[in-house]
Point group: C2
Chain length 293, copies 2
DNA sequence: CACGTCCATGCCGCCAGGTTATAGAAGCAG
DNA sequence: CTGCTTCTATAACCTGGCGGCATGGACGTG
């Protein structure tokens, strides 16, 4: 009988939540997907795990037994991944955009000098996961934009802040000004991240700075190229200052904005002490690099 | 990071075997499939697990670390499945053909009387797995035809024997005789099981009774309906006497055969003592039923 | 009686994982 | 040196599983 960890995570969520609908929302999948998965799990085991009712999914005795073992299974898997990485001396580092990592190659080079036996493996993630792979255990640490959903579950060290500006279509009237007031942008259609990113999405729509003015969402994207295209197509989007250096598009311009808080960049890692020494050294390398620039 | 148990089993096989080609043969999958899977595993972990060379795949240090943990992971998973079945009082029973199970409903009914709290879940398997799901952990016990590949890994109790006869096309010359000598069949094209079933396939081709005459394989099938069609199409196939009762086809006849050993039917279960009491009772029910008929 | 809130089902599109065929590299025998 | 063998890697293709959307059905509630 084959099963994968995703199915176990699904099951754990449904068991805790008590409803498919609720678990689906938490896992960012559709409710029918969970219906099917839970049924498949029951079929494979040959055991009814849930008692269905209009009010939700209640665990049966067998379901409780199974549920009591799932965390250990997932934990052991995670443990195995960590241990393997430790032996291989590989540090998986997630990031969302080049700007957040700052001078990536220099930081890595600095780190290599301090920890010649370790290797850093960089992984870029799109905006469907603001934790840059940390939430799914795909990386050991991640350079993230704060705040991000689920942040409380991790150890976060703030690295630096960076002003936020705006990307505008080149022929937009405001493109002529050197600096834009945020309130001038409030009625523009914004490019937003997927709704599964919650507070993170709101932060990049500057929900806090709107004084109650409703958001107009002009497009939803999760990748830089789509993002730029959407702006070229007439939307606007807040962006960190570094975006002006790392991304460019002929029909898109970057302008400073007054009236929005800066973007905070941090290094996040799991609460469990994984790769302690190496991570410490990485942090050192980053801060040394920052203090120099 | 999501992974499934199949991938872990693949990895374990490659690690033990030392070559993809060898492991592929053992797992009955193609070698390119393993190439891709092992690479994916390495990519997901961000770690080189194997040192490749023309002579095979050697584990790296990290690979050894990972390999040392895989058996425990698979074991814990198996354990969880068992425990859940124990609480739910479900006994998963595999079988290949109705004849082997004998009078299924009666045995089940008898079992229910003795163990009213337990439920038997029957699962039929095709001939691609002569262990009827036991090898893959899909069932707790299985009614099998002996001998079957991998039999040594299980506890097997022989239940009864049954004469083997032959299925012939209705218009085959030998169909006129009441009884056929096996040597008259030696040059006929036989229907065979897939080559992955090894000795089991040979047994149903009566390899031992051929005195060295080579086998002519006329068709390869893994399911009863294809099997009958192949016979209707001009092949012949050995079959247990009960097949005459449970399977029928207008253009196929069953005839007794002299000169082949009978088929032995047994109950097989895992070496680890799972569902001890219930299995004991099931065995009782079967033997009671057998002694009565 | 209409509405909200669950879970279940049907249909569709996509991708992971499998297969076969073939290429490439390297040892080994003659 | 050449041809044979034995590995792994790559390419092209096919299929089934999984997820998404839309909808249905059951049932409690205002």
């Amino acid at each position: 009988m084959d099963v994968d960890t995703r199915l176990l995570r699904y099951f754990a969520a449904v068991a805790e939540e008590g409803t498919l609908t609720g678990a689906a929302a938490r896992l960012f999948v559709s409710q029918p997907a969970l219906t099917k998965q839970m049924r498949r799990l029951e079929d494979d085991l040959g055991v009814r795990l849930f008692a269905r009712s209009r009010s939700g999914m209640a665990l049966t005795d067998a379901g409780r037994e199974f549920a009591s073992r799932v965390p250990a299974l997932l934990g052991a898997w995670d443990e195995a991944v960590q241990a393997t990485g430790r032996v291989a001396r590989v540090l998986r580092l997630g990031f969302l955009d080049a700007g957040a990592v700052g001078a990536v190659p220099e930081v890595i080079a600095e780190f290599r000098r301090a920890q010649p036996k370790w290797r850093v493996e960089l992984r870029q993630f799109d905006w469907s996961d603001p934790s840059a792979g940390l939430a799914r255990g795909e990386v050991d640490a991640a350079v993230v934009r704060l705040p991000f959903p689920g942040q409380g579950g991790f150890v976060v060290r703030e690295l630096f802040t960076e002003d936020r500006g705006v990307l505008l279509p080149a022929r937009h009237p405001l493109a002529n000004s050197e600096t834009v007031e945020f309130r001038e942008l409030r009625n523009e259609p914004f490019v937003a991240a997927g709704s599964e990113t919650g507070a993170w999405r709101d932060h990049w729509l500057a929900a806090e700075e709107r004084d109650g003015y409703p958001v107009r969402v002009g497009a939803v994207t999760s990748r830089p190229d789509e993002w730029l295209s959407a702006v070229a197509g007439g939307c606007v989007a807040l962006a960190p200052a570094s975006a002006a250096r790392f991304y460019s598009h002929p029909d898109v311009v970057f302008r400073a904005v007054r009236g929005v808080s800066p973007s905070r960049v941090g290094l996040a890692r799991s609460r469990r002490h994984v790769h302690e020494a190496a991570l410490h050294e990485l942090l050192q390398a980053m801060t040394r690099r920052l203090s120099r620039s």
